[in-house]
Each structure stands twice: as structure tokens, then as C-alpha cells.
């Protein structure tokens, strides 16, 4: 048998190439070049799927905000913004919430929307069998739809802060006419959530080219005309996003403060910052005896020049944080600012009997430039006060395991959504919320704070509630539950084509007014 080796090789390689070509070249669709009437938006991570029952993650929430709608959201002023609910009333006892729904709305597939869809969705959200990650928020609650345009939630216990649990990029209403027949325990895995076929948002879902881009088109059945025919959401690296802002391939992106300088110099790009709803902090493992003394944590706060971190790492776009509460109603004016004071730090450590010979490990997930730089600066600052700190870069899985096994010393992390209502800070402070039951990673526990916040949430008078929260915040500030570092501003950069964008401090609700956007030219 004679085989010509060269032709064999060439044929093989061509075959390989052809097999690869077959797929990508066929899938372009109509193709408008992605330029003129399409908006290109950056996603800071790859979206997974679009299921409001799943544990919330930023990129999924950003996409869901465009294709779905919910009762109310949070606007750029950190206030409640009506969406499907035109208005709402809270009963005197803070247990019953009545929502008046917009009437005459249609799903993107043309079917009518009504209170039955809202009832269907909230029953799913409250039912652990559906795989809902929000079921605990609705424990004991009951739901009713007395007529086509009214929806009522009745809580088991009074909670004036309840609205904050459903406002924002959560609790998106699902179409009963599509999902109503699916058994509750099978709904989480339904393919609808990979490719939603009906929504109430300003855009409809067209396609998700996994890890490449999400394609959306204007929803013709939306309650008002939508200004942009197409949106592409692209999960690329922040470097690529910054570069594409300059080339015009990207119209809207959230950027890191470390990129501020280069983005500002791009022609036609506007940069806007807003205080974020979360903050960078160090969780100190208080199950370790040496960290249980509040003076050790206070010393760490004094040892770190946090204002200079804000000035240098964030280019001034941020503020020093001195509490685990962010909502203005919960913050008293007289919090201890823990000013930069190495001598005070040394004294506090000496008073607490600190053993400087024993090393301390600071763990964090690397990858965010301001955070990576902060870790190094903090290491030096703590060393100057007499703490022998080693830095340890870890993967997310490893960090979470160290939380659970309580094997970490110090963990540096950021984020959180605490600005709308003070009760959102409770899961990181309460004695019954130690990780993995809740978000209390440092195992901080103060019964008096629990009592104050519990009483505040049962109070129906806003002034009384605010007073109780301020007392709790004052106590928390004195005990240094966390080593708070800074609240970074959320920074958006957008090209001059995009009109009507209103930047929010919370990236996850960044597209809250997408139905008001339009493209110039």
C-alpha cells in the first residue's frame, strides 16, 4: 500500500481545520456588524444562567435586569424605584405589604401579565423545594393575589426592612404560562433558565454564546418604546474592556480605580463614580484566642493608614469605612474614626499582651489590582505596629474552606450590598449567622448588638428604628467586628454614543434604567 506522507499530513490538517470551521462560521446570524445600532456592554465575569431562584451573582443579575422585571428596584440614589408595582403600602404592624401592579402589560411573547405571575414567582421563591436560594427570606410568609392588579405579602414577624430583600436585582417575575406546568422540584434545572423565552424586561434574550457574549434585542411588547435595537454583553478581562473603550468596541464598562487615569484620557469617554454599597475589609478569626481581644482589632485599624490607601490606590475615589453598616439611617455621627496612629496601635497591642513572635497569615483571592496592592501595604503597616504578617494568595474554594474550618487568621475581601437598608448588615454580624450558616466569617458575637438590631427590625416607627440601629452601630464600631478598610466608589466609563445612562453605586443594579437608554447618531 502506498500512501504519500505529505499529502496525508496536509489532508489531515485541512480536515482538522474544516471540522473547526463548520461550527463558528454558521452561527453568525443576521449580522449587523455589531456597530451602529447595537450597544456593547462589559460584564465583569462570565454569566452562568438566568435564574432568579439561584444564588445571586453579579453578571447573571445584570443580564436578568435587562430581560426580566420585578416589583421594585433600587435607583441611582439608593432609593426604591417602582417597576412592575406602581405603588405599595405597608401596614401599620409592618407585616403586610400590598403592591398595586401596572395593568395592561404583556410578556415579550405577547401573553398578558397579571398578579397570577407574581403569585406564582413568590411561591417558588419561598419554597425550598424549588431550589430557591431566597427561601429563608420568606420563611413563614404568605402570598395572595386578591385581584389581577394587586399582590399582597404577609410576613410572620414584623419587618419594616423587608422591601430591601426584594428590591434590587432579585425576585424577578417568571412567566406562569411557560413554567407553571413544571413540577416544583424540577424547575431549577429547567432549560428556560439557560435560554429564557419570555420576559417583562426592556430586552428579550436572543442567545448566549457561552463565555463570549450575550445577545439581546429590544422587546417589542415592552410597556414603552425601547431606544436601542440590540445589546451585546461581553465578559472580557478588564484590560480588554479598557482597551475596547478606546477603540469604540465597548460602550459601557465598570472600571477599576487603577485604570482611571488611562480611561480618563480616552476621547469621548465619560467617567462617573458613586459610593458603592459594600466595602473592603479584613475578617479577623475571633475563634483564635489571640484575636478575641477587641484591642487587637482596634490596633490593626490604627496601624493602617486607610486614608492614604483611598488616596493612592483608589485615586481618591472612595472613603474610609468605620462600621459594618453602610445605610445612612444606621450611622451615628460619633463613630470612632480610628485615625492612623502607629503609637496607639503599639500600645493597644501591648495592653492586649500580643505575642509578636507568632506569625499571622493574611489570605485573599488575588486578581483585583487595588486589593492586591492593599494587601502588601497592610502587611507593611501591621509589621510596623508589631504584627508579623505573611501574605497568602488563595483560590476562592480554598478561602471558603478555611472560613468553614476556621483555619484562617486574617481574610481580606470586599463587596456586599448594605446601603439601602441597615438590616442587610445583620447577616455579617449576628451570633446566629456564623459561616456557613450566614455571612459572619470572623465569628464576631455581641448579644447586645443582636438585641438592638432585632428590636429595630420589629419596630414600625422609622425614627425608633434608626435610633436602635445607631446604638448597634456605635457598639459595633467600638468592638471592631471587622477591620474595615475602605468603601470604593463604583466607577463607570461610557462612550458618548450612550445617552440616558444613570450610574449606580451598585454594579449589580447598574442597568436599572436601561429602558431609558438610547444611542446617539
Amino acid at each position: 500500500m502506498t500512501v504519500r506522507p505529505l499529502s496525508l499530513i496536509v489532508a489531515g490538517a485541512l480536515l482538522l481545520a474544516a471540522a473547526g470551521c463548520a461550527d463558528p462560521t454558521n452561527t453568525g446570524g443576521g449580522g449587523d456588524g455589531g456597530a451602529k445600532n447595537a450597544l456593547n456592554v462589559y460584564l465583569y465575569q462570565k454569566p452562568k444562567r438566568f435564574n432568579p431562584l439561584d444564588p445571586p451573582t453579579g453578571p447573571d443579575q445584570q443580564v436578568m435586569q435587562l430581560i426580566f422585571d420585578n416589583l421594585l428596584t433600587v435607583n441611582d440614589q439608593s432609593e426604591y424605584e417602582p417597576r412592575l408595582a406602581e405603588s405599595w403600602e405597608i401596614s401599620k404592624d409592618a407585616k403586610s405589604f400590598t403592591f398595586r401592579l401596572r395593568t395592561g402589560l404583556k410578556w415579550s411573547d405577547g401573553k398578558p401579565f397579571g398578579a397570577k405571575d407574581v403569585l406564582f414567582t413568590y411561591k417558588l421563591l419561598a419554597d425550598p423545594k424549588s431550589g430557591s436560594a431566597m427561601a429563608g427570606k420568606f420563611a413563614g410568609a404568605s402570598f395572595a393575589a386578591p385581584d389581577e392588579s394587586t399582590f399582597v405579602i404577609t410576613l410572620a414577624k414584623p419587618n419594616i426592612g423587608f422591601l430591601s430583600l426584594i428590591a434590587g436585582p432579585f425576585a424577578f417575575i417568571l412567566p406562569e404560562h411557560v413554567l407553571g406546568a413544571v413540577p416544583v422540584d424540577a424547575i431549577a434545572g429547567n432549560a428556560f433558565f439557560n435560554k429564557p423565552t419570555a420576559g417583562l424586561g426592556p430586552y428579550t434574550f436572543v442567545d448566549y454564546k457561552t463565555d463570549q457574549y450575550v445577545e439581546l434585542a429590544a422587546n417589542p411588547n415592552y410597556r414603552k418604546p425601547v431606544g436601542i435595537p440590540k445589546i451585546f454583553l461581553k465578559p472580557v478581562t478588564s484590560d480588554v474592556a479598557t482597551a475596547q473603550l478606546g477603540t469604540g468596541e465597548m460602550d459601557l464598562a465598570q472600571i477599576s480605580p487603577t485604570d482611571l487615569q488611562s480611561v480618563r484620557s480616552l476621547p469621548g469617554v465619560t467617567v462617573a463614580g458613586k459610593p458603592s454599597p459594600g466595602f473592603l475589609r479584613i475578617a479577623v478569626n475571633q475563634t483564635e484566642k489571640r484575636f478575641a481581644d477587641p484591642r487587637v482589632r482596634q490596633a490593626m485599624l490604627h496601624a493602617i493608614d486607610r486614608q492614604s490607601l483611598v488616596d493612592k490606590l483608589l485615586a481618591g475615589k472612595g472613603s474610609v469605612q468605620n462600621s459594618s453598616f453602610v445605610a445612612a439611617a444606621a450611622l451615628p455621627p460619633d463613630l470612632n474614626p480610628y485615625a492612623y496612629d502607629v503609637a496607639a496601635a503599639k500600645k493597644l497591642l501591648a495592653d492586649a499582651g500580643w505575642d509578636a513572635s507568632k506569625p499571622v497569615t493574611l489570605s485573599w483571592i488575588p486578581g483585583q489590582r487595588d486589593r492586591d496592592a492593599a494587601a502588601t501595604v497592610i502587611q507593611g503597616a501591621l509589621a510596623a505596629a508589631g504584627m508579623n504578617v505573611t501574605l497568602k494568595q488563595v483560590q476562592a474554594a480554598e478561602l471558603l474552606e478555611s472560613y468553614e474550618k476556621r483555619t484562617f487568621d486574617l481574610a481580606l475581601f470586599g463587596g456586599g450590598t448594605y446601603s439601602v437598608d441597615p438590616s442587610s448588615s445583620n447577616p455579617i454580624l449576628r451570633c446566629d449567622a456564623f459561616y456557613p450558616k450566614g455571612g459572619n466569617i470572623p465569628h464576631f458575637c455581641d448579644k447586645e448588638i443582636d438585641r438592638l438590631t432585632g428590636a429595630a427590625d420589629a419596630a414600625t416607627d422609622p425614627a425608633e428604628r434608626s435610633t436602635l440601629y445607631r446604638q448597634a452601630a456605635k457598639r459595633e464600631n467600638e468592638q471592631a467586628a471587622y477591620v474595615w478598610i475602605y468603601n470604593p466608589e463604583a466607577i463607570w466609563a461610557y462612550g458618548s454614543r450612550l445617552r440616558g445612562f444613570k450610574p449606580s453605586g451598585d454594579f449589580t443594579v447598574g442597568f436599572w434604567n436601561a429602558d431609558e437608554w438610547s444611542l446617539a447618531g
Binding site: G34, K48, V240, L400, G415, P436, G439
Partner: protein, 319 residues
């Protein structure tokens, strides 16, 4: 020949089974818990105490690893590799849509690499110890020595950001995706991957050709009046390229490893990108599926190397 192939396939199945056990145990030994990874610590309380427990049960994480393995094996034998923890889609579908882009990248790189390596190697062999030989040796060594991810970043900076000739990342422009668009995205990653194999291939071609050119049959051919081009192309090069088949087959897994790194750099939506993000998210079923895919690829390439060699060279017979 057929018996040989059948026997080798049998051995390969056994090897694959061992690999699957190893991969299964290794993946489970990785630190962390995939369900905890899904939930932001602050949201844990929101799900109620039920959520984590339900999710673990649903994903089958509570069963002992031996039970899990046999359930997985039973399903795998019917072509079902389970569902991704993250996207909830079948692993076969998730991997399937990534094979195309990776094969496109690797295939183009292989073709480009050979188009460079064979002429350059031939030239270096024919003009041994000439300037051309030295230059190709130095350039070849240089591209072998510089890691391709570095070349990738440098190429993005020069050709995408500074010169603006090619797109910097991805496989398509959203909304376009036509052949020309894919080609424009393909140029940089494929060229860099091609460079990384052109170096070693060129040296194999050179070495093989030098050996052949010194053989007796070449002198015979020359004595019979064959001119230099005919001697080179019809006789020497043909024989020199036979060992290259084996080398290419053995290089395919290595090429894939190179592609994994480059896919990260260029955001190319292939298997490598999928593998890295799945490992980060502890998406066990996808990681296991990917590892097995690599194992199958390596085993098949080794088998193909032997079989193709026998087909191309009549002196070799497989029993």
C-alpha cells in the same frame, strides 16, 4: 493489522478506566465545596438551612465517592457524562461546543506550522552550515524558548492595541461571526501556536533530511540521472517526512496544552478556557469530562501514530 488495532484499543479502554478512577479521586480531593462556591457568604442565611443540604443532595455530593464513581461510570457508558453544576447543561453538550473552536485553532496552527517548518527545514538541510541554516536554527530555538502566552500578550499589544490590525480577543465580533470575522480573530493565536511547533518540527525535518541525503539510494538515483530537485523532492524528502507523522501525533496533546494557555490570553472560547473556569468553580462533572477527553485524545493519537507509520512505511508491519 486489524488484530493489532483491536488489541491496542482493548488496552486503551483499560487504561482509560484507570485514568477515570484517578481523575475522580483527584477532583474530589481538591479543597473546597462546589455548593458553597455558588453562594456568596452573606446570602447563605437567605436560603435557609435547607438550601445547602438540598443542593448537595441534588448534585449527589453526599454519597460516598465509590458510589458516585459507579453511578458516573454507568451513565458514562451510555454517553451521559452528567450535568454541569454551574450551567446545569449536559457535560457532553458543554464540551461539544468547545471542541470546534479548539480544533480550528489547533488545526490552523498545525497547518501553518508545517508550512513554515517543512520548507525551512529542507532549506537548512540542503544548505547545511550556511547562513540560512544558522538563522533558522537560532530563530527556531528562540520560539521554542519563549513561552507562547508571553508571545500572545506581546502580539496583542503590538498588532491589536498599537497597530489595530487584528481584534484583541474572542473568536467573533458580536453580531457578525462570518468567515472573514473568525479568520481575523484566528490570525494571532493560530500564528503564535504555529510558531511554537514550527521550531521543533523544523529541526526534525532538517535532521531527517540530512540522514536521507547521505543514504545509498540517493547516490543511486543521482547516478541514474535524476536531477537535484527530483532527488530531493521525490526521494529524500518523502522518506524524511515519514517520521514526522509520528511526531505530529505525539505533538497533538502538547499542542492542546499550548492552546489552553493561548485560549486564556486571547479569550478564545475553546476547551482550555472551559477547563480553567470549571476548575476554578469546582464544576466536577465538567472537569472530569475534560480530563477524560484529554486522556482519550492522547491514547488515540498514540495509536494513530503507530498505525499511520505502518501505513506510510511498508518496512514496518504491526502484529
Amino acid at each position: 493489522m486489524l488484530t493489532y488495532v483491536a488489541r491496542r484499543l482493548g488496552v486503551n479502554v483499560a487504561v482509560l478506566l484507570l485514568i477515570s478512577i484517578g481523575v475522580f479521586l483527584l477532583v474530589r480531593a481538591a479543597p473546597g465545596d462546589p455548593v458553597r462556591m455558588m453562594v456568596n457568604p452573606e446570602q447563605l442565611a437567605a436560603g435557609g438551612p435547607d438550601f445547602i443540604a438540598r443542593k448537595r443532595a441534588e448534585l449527589g455530593l453526599d454519597d460516598p465517592v465509590v458510589v458516585r464513581y459507579f453511578i458516573w461510570l454507568r451513565d458514562a457508558l451510555t454517553g451521559d457524562l452528567g450535568y454541569s453544576f454551574v450551567s446545569r447543561r449536559p457535560v457532553v453538550a458543554v464540551l461539544g461546543e468547545r471542541i470546534g473552536p479548539t480544533v480550528l485553532l489547533m488545526g490552523t496552527a498545525l497547518l501553518l506550522g508545517l508550512l513554515v517548518a517543512v520548507p525551512a527545514g529542507t532549506l537548512a538541510a540542503v544548505r547545511r552550515n550556511s547562513a540560512a541554516d544558522y538563522v533558522s536554527a537560532v530563530v527556531g530555538l528562540a520560539v521554542i524558548s519563549v513561552p507562547s502566552f508571553f508571545l500572545g500578550i506581546a502580539a496583542i499589544y503590538v498588532f491589536s492595541l498599537t497597530l489595530g490590525w487584528f481584534p484583541s480577543s474572542g473568536m467573533t465580533t458580536p453580531g457578525d461571526g462570518g468567515g472573514a470575522d473568525v479568520l481575523a480573530h484566528l490570525v494571532l493565536p493560530a500564528a503564535i501556536l504555529a510558531l511554537s511547533i514550527a521550531g521543533p518540527f523544523m529541526r526534525y525535518v532538517r535532521g531527517g533530511l540530512i540522514a536521507e541525503l547521505g543514504a545509498d539510494y540517493i547516490r543511486t538515483a543521482e547516478a541514474k540521472g535524476a536531477g537535484p530537485p527530483r532527488v530531493l523532492l521525490r526521494h529524500a524528502l518523502r522518506n524524511a517526512l515519514i517520521p514526522l507523522i509520528t511526531i505530529i501525533m505525539i505533538y497533538v496533546p502538547q499542542l492542546l496544552a499550548g492552546a489552553v494557555a493561548l485560549e486564556q490570553v486571547f479569550a478564545w472560547p475553546g476547551m482550555g478556557q472551559l477547563a480553567i473556569s470549571s476548575i476554578g468553580q469546582l464544576d466536577y462533572p465538567v472537569v472530569i469530562g475534560f480530563a477524560l477527553f484529554i486522556a482519550v485524545l492522547v491514547l488515540l493519537c498514540n495509536l494513530a501514530a503507530d498505525v499511520l507509520y505502518a501505513l506510510a512505511d511498508p518496512r514496518i508491519s504491526l502484529r
